[in-house]
Symmetry: C2
Subunit: 127 residues, 2 copies
Amino acid sequence: MQALGRHILAEVYGCKFEVLNDIKKVEDIMINAALEAGAEVREFVFHKFSPQGVSGVVVISESHLAIHTWPELGYAAVDVFTCGDKVDPWDACNYLAKHFGAEYVNATEVKRGIIEQGQEERLVVNI
Amino acid sequence: MQALGRHILAEVYGCKFEVLNDIKKVEDIMINAALEAGAEVREFVFHKFSPQGVSGVVVISESHLAIHTWPELGYAAVDVFTCGDKVDPWDACNYLAKHFGAEYVNATEVKRGIIEQGQEERLVVNI
């Protein structure tokens, strides 16, 4: 069995309200987390909610990073999804946890796109 | 304990190459999946890769939908992340599985942002 992607679901707790509610800071940290891991940034969109909270996504050649912040709880839900061997999603995860000033992070890696041995070759041949 | 969000990780298999490689079709299906579930679309970005594959994200008021396609494998990795009670992420997931013409889908729901009883009130008071 082979996995096409690695997807980290990170629960980031204990961050400062001011950071999680600042769209520019959140955007900078997420883009720099992608770059720090060696990813190639393709597109990004961020949105500021009223009265508080930021949502945003960075599309990278290797998949994406996403964040949703609850500044009033000091909490952010972060996803780092990468495919290929070039980028280690934990590099991005560690970078952003540090730069958000998280008190603690609960992160899990999920394998995405489990392709059984031989399936890839068969499917490619069938196209 | 209370969860702030519901996140479906869907492994979508057995789709047609032509659909998964068509950025406009992928974009339409993902945006309509969000709307079908009653979500409010805020932003979206999609990117077409060479020689094949599409990545894209729809930021909704209730969080986001994301997709990465491997047309040569008939496979797409899809995320549907919602917060609040208004939108059921499974409505979006079922819609997109149907419209991608998936042969089978392996989907799991993960709770995001587990906040312990009383933590929310304490944190709000502390701000």
